[in-house]
């Protein structure tokens, strides 16, 4: 982590790295024949995909295609809707997370989430970051101080916020709030970060900063990002899955999806012919 913090963001460097020969990356999530229903609505149909560590996996598709539903299945947030039923399995580090014996609290401690709209708590910046460690039993002031600094540095927002740690988070700009939420997510030290359209409510400049941040974070985390923004998926992801009507139409290297899509519908969607 420490080297990440001190390094300057350099997109060009990241791009070059991407072209280097791929090292064997471990599979974090392995989804097999996942089906999901909201009551009678069949929202996800026979989803099969694996998600690897230290990669950005983008999920694109028109509204209502199931991409957010799939993302929320990965940390079982989808269960907050009481009428959800699932079949199939999602293996996370060798265990099926859809199995009821897999505690959601355990899963969500290892899998962090960043939401569409920045949702800081109505507390100070410090308390926002300390919230995660606190619920997991860390109350030592010195340790919390260190976690807060490390997390804020990890989200590249330490320099902006270090002098106002005890101000209310609601006083921050939208972009700062979203980066604070990412820092808050890092404080729990997850392995995976799920991002649900994290930049859809942000201006272009804040969006760019989040995208740069994602490039840095993927050195340590598996990142799954749902986005409506085609350019964003092309810019920041290693792999892209195209969802349509609850099915995966195509899932491949991002370069391949955007330059030589196999399925006609993928090409149509990417070029803006529908959706």
């Amino acid at each position: 982590m420490n080297t990440v913090m001190t390094k300057k963001i350099n997109l060009q460097l990241v791009r070059n790295e991407r072209r280097e020969p791929a090292v064997q990356k471990e599979i974090v999530y392995d989804t097999k024949d996942l089906n999901l229903w909201y009551g009678e609505t069949h929202a996800l149909k026979n989803i099969n995909m694996d998600i690897k560590e230290k990669e950005v996996t983008a999920i694109i598709g028109p509204s209502g295609c199931g991409k957010s539903t799939y993302l929320k299945t990965l940390n079982r947030m989808v269960e907050l809707v009481p009428i959800v039923k699932t079949s199939g399995e999602i293996t996370y580090k060798g265990r099926n997370i859809l199995d009821k014996s897999f505690r959601v609290e355990d899963l969500r401690t290892q899998v962090g989430m960043v939401f569409q709209k920045a949702n800081p708590f109505p507390k100070s910046i410090y308390e926002n970051i300390a919230y995660g460690p606190r619920i997991h039993g860390i109350n030592n002031k010195k340790i919390l101080d260190e976690i807060v600094e490390k997390s804020l540095r990890g989200a590249f927002i330490w320099d902006e916020l270090k002098d106002r740690l005890h101000d209310n988070a609601y006083g921050l700009s939208g972009g700062q709030q979203q980066r604070l939420c990412i820092a808050r997510c890092l404080a729990v030290e997850p392995n995976v970060i799920l991002m649900d359209e994290p930049t859809s409510a942000l201006d272009p400049k804040s969006t760019l900063r989040i995208e740069e941040l994602v490039q840095e974070l993927k050195k340590d985390y598996a990142i799954v990002i749902v986005t409506h923004n085609m350019q964003q998926a092309a810019r920041i992801s290693d792999k892209t899955a195209f969802f349509l009507n609850g099915e995966i139409i195509e899932y491949d290297q991002t370069d391949h999806i955007f330059n030589t899509p196999t399925d006609e519908r993928t090409g149509d969607y990417i070029s803006g012919r529908f959706g």
């Binding site: 009481p82 969500r108 989430m113 709209k117 949702n119 729990v188």
Partner: protein, 296 residues
Amino acid sequence: MTTKYMDAELVGKRMSSRVRKNAGWKGVFFASTLFGLFVLAVLLIRVFTQGLEYINIDFLMNHLSTDASRAGIMGAILGTAWLMLIVVPVTMVVGVGTAIYLELYAKKGKLQSFIATNISNLAGVPSIVYGLLGLTLFVRALEFGNVLLAGGLTLALLVLPIVIVAAQEALRAVPGSLSEASYGMGATKWQTVRRIILPAAIPGILTGAILSLSRAIGETAPLTVLGIPALLIPFPSGIFDTFTALPMQIYYWTIDSSLVAEYANLAAATIIVLLILLFLLNSIAIFIRNKFQQRY
């Protein structure tokens, strides 16, 4: 040239009648408001002219007496204070607990909405019915007698539905995005409730609780059913003591004013004391609402 549907002449002709109509309705609405203010003013003037001069330290501190010039309401003030001490913890614990269960834990379904609907209905049950419930349950079945505990629990039951509904609304007003953020970090439901949802809902819950408290201490009907006296009894010093309360004192003095005319003035003086207490409680509620209300 396109057809014009808005005929300038016709519009102009109707203009003044429309404006006049608007002014007329404004008058009606203002008169409605004035009516309420007028009644309130008459009430206050009557009570204050009758009772104000009777309020002094002796009146506030003395025991009750049949001699109007020596009678005091300390017993009733203490009784009301004790009632508040019972009503507040019972309604807060049971009321907020119920609201948390219904809003956050209970599976949303037919049973949950059946319970919630009936709690709202209970809020509309006449207070005298709660008096009968208290008489049957606390005074007789549990053999408390007509003591503070019986009175306090009866009043607590009476306002419980109001507290529950207010607390439910306050909990519902906390944005779901906040609890999602908490769950998303691996927090349990209880941690999320205690650290995120409750702190955000507390101002709304307190406002509802204080308003219902002021309703409870003004209630007379359930206490008369319980058989609460306004006699020469010692000051209450525990929840198993007999007691009287401010509204009971007003009630008995008003009834007996046909015997001793001065009792009417004593009743008016007691009303002033009770009103001040109620205004105080409501002001606290408004203060809390304005000061701590969180805007998202």
